[in-house]
């Protein structure tokens, strides 16, 4: 495992099974099925009629802004909060009325919740004792769990004697040592600095691959979601806006909220009218073409920055391309790429990303033409609420 070599805070021993990729704690992940799940507090719906299927062994991330209901959803799955409506199934069996301690799920909390009066090894032994596992077998499992998180030598320490990243890994070891079918993690890296977070993301990804357990992971950091997940469920106001692989959410966002929350984009607003092969949206007195169609006429077109190109002002667009006049207002050099900030005639912003080696000779203040393929315009119903969230 070369990832461990960059560990900033430990000198981990190599995992015993690193070569074979097998882990003693490996098991089978469960399928989780949420159907029409809600949790109300008085009039307020913290979770509002969500449905979601997590496949066995999948890494599912719940992504969304603060207060969008991610933790509540995770707590419902763990059994700490009971839903006010809907059903929750694990491997086909309804478990709404199963108490938390019988659900056989591992939970990693944001602040780890390690038992301060127990050593690392005793913390990890805790779930094994509750299951009546004998002393010899316990020792083997603790060893395997500590090796999995590269903390082999730390068993006798108390949690307060460990760094934040080490405590986080103990929390993971404690949650996987009894081979739960599901591992739930609520912003487990939220309290750590960026460098440590990047490394632990890779560690979590590796542990997921080794164990085959179903992971449900909560974060509000979109980059973290992109690095880790098989699929991402985007939460907003207690609802799920879209579920899909990262590329799907990025290339084909279902709502303006998803488009704005994941990655950067240029948003063009206007009235949509249907055409023979899609729609045309009036933006800055020009017709912008897109293959998409929506109900209603208030539309937003989303274009990702790498899909946009900058041409001289007198450039004539080819058939199947859109074009808009724009003024360059700023330029950010990023090494492998360059970002150009532009303003459209109506004052709204646009963003272009050019790869290094393919940079245009555009400079700040230039009057240019912005072009892109009609097929790269994602047509979505406009949502005035979204601006409130992001500005």
């Amino acid at each position: 495992m070369s990832s461990s070599a960059i560990s900033p805070d430990a000198r981990p021993a190599p995992a015993p099974d690193a070569g074979s990729g097998r882990n003693d704690l490996a098991g089978r992940g469960a399928r989780i099925e949420l159907t029409g799940l809600s949790r109300r507090y008085g009039d307020f719906a913290a979770v509002d009629d969500i449905s979601l299927v997590v496949e066995p062994g999948e890494f599912m991330t719940l992504l969304g802004p603060s207060g969008s209901g991610k933790t509540t959803t995770l707590n419902i799955i763990a059994g700490f909060v009971s839903p006010t409506a809907g059903s929750l199934k694990v491997d086909g069996a309804a478990i709404e009325s199963t108490p938390a301690h019988k659900r056989d799920m591992g939970v990693v909390f944001q602040h780890y919740a390690l038992f301060p009066h127990l050593t690392v090894a005793e913390n990890i032994a805790y779930p094994l004792k509750r299951r009546g596992i004998g002393k010899a077998r316990r020792a083997e499992l603790i060893r395997a769990a500590l090796d999995t998180v590269h903390l082999g030598e730390y068993g006798h320490r108390y949690p307060r004697e460990l760094s934040g990243g080490q405590q986080q890994r103990v929390a993971v070891a404690r949650a996987i040592v009894y081979g739960p079918r599901v591992l739930l993690m609520d912003e487990p890296l939220g309290a750590l600095d960026k460098k440590l977070r990047d490394w632990l993301q890779l560690e979590i990804k590796r542990i997921h691959a080794e164990l085959g357990t179903t992971f449900v992971y909560v974060t509000h950091d979109q980059e973290e979601a992109l690095v880790l997940s098989d699929r991402i469920a985007v939460f907003n106001h207690g609802r799920i806006e879209q579920v899909g692989a990262a590329s799907e959410l990025y290339e084909r966002p279902a709502t303006l909220f998803v488009a704005k929350f994941l990655g950067e984009s240029t948003v063009l607003r206007g009235e949509a009218t249907r055409t023979g092969d899609g729609s045309a949206v009036g933006v800055c007195a020009r017709a912008i073409h897109t293959p998409g169609r929506i109900e209603g006429s208030r539309a937003a077109i989303v274009v990702r920055p790498e899909r946009l190109a900058v041409r001289p002002r007198d450039h004539r667009p080819e058939p199947g391309w859109n074009a808009l006049p724009a003024t360059v207002t700023g330029e950010i050099y990023l090494g492998s790429s360059r970002k150009l900030e532009l303003a459209l005639p109506d004052g709204s912003p646009a963003l272009v990303r050019e790869q290094a080696g393919m940079l245009s000779d555009t400079r700040e203040g230039d009057e240019v033409t912005l072009t892109w393929r009609a097929g790269d315009s994602v047509l979505l119903p406009d949502d005035p609420d979204v601006e409130a969230v992001f500005t």
Partner: protein, 302 residues
Amino acid sequence: MVLDQLSGDVSGAARPAADAPSPARTASDAGGRRPALLILPALIALAAFFLYPLALVAWNAFTDPTPGLGNFVWFFSEPANLATLGRTFTTALWVTAVSLLLSYPYAYAMTVAGPRVRGLLMMLVLLPFWTSLMVRTFAWVILLQDTGVINQLLGAVGLGPFSLIRTQTGVIIGMVQLLMPFMVLPLYAVMSGIDGRLLPAARSLGARPATAFVTVYMPLSLPGVSAGCLTVFISALGFYITPALLGSPTDALISQQIFTQVNGLLKWGRGGAMGVVLLGLTLVMIALLAVSLRRAGRRVSR
């Protein structure tokens, strides 16, 4: 006097032991002798008003009326004295146990209650401090007497009457009420520092609610238990007014006997010897209690 001592005690005991090395200590290396100067007034007061009288009492015990161990021989050869000593310790133990049983759930309720209820509960704990010890003890006389409020209430539901006043039960009831704040406050201080997410964490790891409480919450609350028990137990050993007013003269505790020897019979040496014996046994008990509580803490946490 008793209360002064106690409130001094509790503020020290209520703080859970911190393991982190105090930054003040490292800073004092550079700061020279200033901290020593700061505690000097307290040290002088302690020497003048506590150590000097204590030494005087001990001196009397060994010298009055004649030098030697006569007073101690007298104390240990009189069965009545040993009975009094035993009664004092059992009463203090009962008071400690009953206070703990009542205070533990009370302090726990304070940590889980909303801010309004918590404020109310805290006020109820502190209420006794706002009235004098004498007034409260006389209130108990009125409540506990054979025709008192408690017996009238019990009579209304067809129970009793019980003789509560002039019994050990009455003394214990009164002392528990007076000493409960010194149990509740350190318990609350320690309990409110316990991370509320530890219990859900234990549940998720497969512990039933009761198991989670016993294996996680109780061991973490033990520093509060030992601080509260020590304070209440030691205070109960030296209580004078409450047993004098609520207890029977035949069941007197050692503080009452000391008073009789010194004020009634003017036997300063015997009174001093009793005081020295009480002090010595108290120190031994503190040591034993501390060791056993630490052991228990370690065992429960395994």
